[in-house]
């Protein structure tokens, strides 16, 4: 018997790790992976609440989050490739102009 709040605390820790990675990392790919980590933390809280309320809607929401994450990864990595082709760098401090 594990309380649901333990799972919620774990999801909070994962989300915080994602936010910290977003703040301290300078590589654009690692920042993108931190966003995926945040999405995973939110997914865990969705599943935990679905178990709390005995409702499967939370699990269906996780599917939609996964679909959006997949679309975001495809488009975002394509943007990263386009940025690297013009700037020759992955450091976000050197990518400071919107013009490609």
């Amino acid at each position: 018997m594990v309380p649901i709040s333990y799972y919620l605390v774990l999801s909070g820790i994962l989300f915080v790790c994602g936010v910290l990675g977003f703040l301290i990392k300078r590589n654009i790919i690692t920042i993108f992976m931190s966003i995926e980590l945040m999405l995973n933390g939110v997914n865990l809280s969705f599943v935990a609440f679905a178990a709390q309320w005995h409702s499967l809607s939370g699990q269906v929401f996780v599917f939609f989050v996964m679909v959006v994450a997949a679309a975001e990864a495809a488009v975002g990595l394509a943007i990263i490739i386009a940025v690297y082709r013009t700037r020759e760098t992955l450091n976000v401090d050197q990518v400071n102009l919107l013009k490609l």
């Binding site: 018997m1 594990v2 309380p3 649901i4 709040s5 333990y6 799972y7 919620l8 605390v9 774990l10 909070g12 820790i13 994962l14 915080v16 790790c17 994602g18 910290l20 990675g21 703040l23 990392k25 300078r26 590589n27 790919i29 690692t30 992976m33 931190s34 995926e36 980590l37 995973n40 997914n43 865990l44 599943v47 935990a48 679905a50 178990a51 499967l56 809607s57 699990q59 269906v60 996780v62 599917f63 939609f64 996964m66 679909v67 994450a69 997949a70 679309a71 990864a73 495809a74 488009v75 990595l77 394509a78 943007i79 990263i80 490739i81 386009a82 082709r85 992955l90 450091n91 401090d93």
Partner: protein, 188 residues
């Protein structure tokens, strides 16, 4: 007791992977530790009774999305990142604020909330129930995601294609006259 041990085991692996993602300076090591996080999260889903979701987590997240990441890292030949001045400011200001907020939320969840417990072995999230919900109640969002995926595919193709190659392809009228492709084949 077994449930708590399993939860703590996979939870510790999960948090260790997440911290390793932050500690590593090379992006490929961060990607591999993110795969560890996603695999242990699939085990946590299984403990919560979401069996189908655990399988989808491994296949879609740890499989498809991470393959995209690893391929991009290898394609761009990404090296170790360098520290700059802006990141030090973010560490000094952002990290304490985020940690304080996390501690407050965790304290509230642990001591001020009345959540129930979950029992191991109850598996309500089978494929049959998920499919019944997905194709009846959530049919419209499901169809809208197909449009989203289509737009994402087109956007990725347009963004990742080389602009000069696209311009050359438009300039040449016949498909025979594509010297860059013919030349690339002969060089190999």
């Amino acid at each position: 007791m077994l449930h708590l041990i399993l939860f703590l085991f996979f939870g510790v692996i999960c948090v260790a992977g997440a911290i390793n993602l932050l500690a590593q300076s090379h992006p490929i090591n961060s990607a591999l530790s993110l795969i560890v996080v996603m695999g242990s999260l699939a085990a946590e889903y299984l403990l919560l009774g979401a069996e189908f979701l655990a399988a989808v987590q491994v296949i879609v997240y740890a499989g498809a999305i991470m393959v995209l990441f690893v391929i991009t890292i290898m394609l761009l030949n990404a090296g170790a990142e360098e520290r700059t001045k802006g990141s030090r400011v973010a560490i000094l200001l952002g990290v304490p604020g985020v940690v304080i907020g996390a501690v407050l939320v965790a304290w509230t969840l642990l001591f001020r909330s009345n959540t129930t417990s979950v029992t191991i072995g109850a598996l309500p999230g089978g494929p049959q129930e998920i499919a019944r919900l997905l194709f009846h109640q959530f049919l419209l969002p499901f169809e809208i995601t197909s449009v989203l995926i289509l737009i994402a595919i087109m956007g990725a193709v347009v963004l990742a294609s080389r602009p000069d190659a696209v311009a050359k392809r438009h300039a040449t009228d016949t498909p025979k006259a594509m010297p860059e492709l013919v030349g690339a084949g002969k060089e190999r």
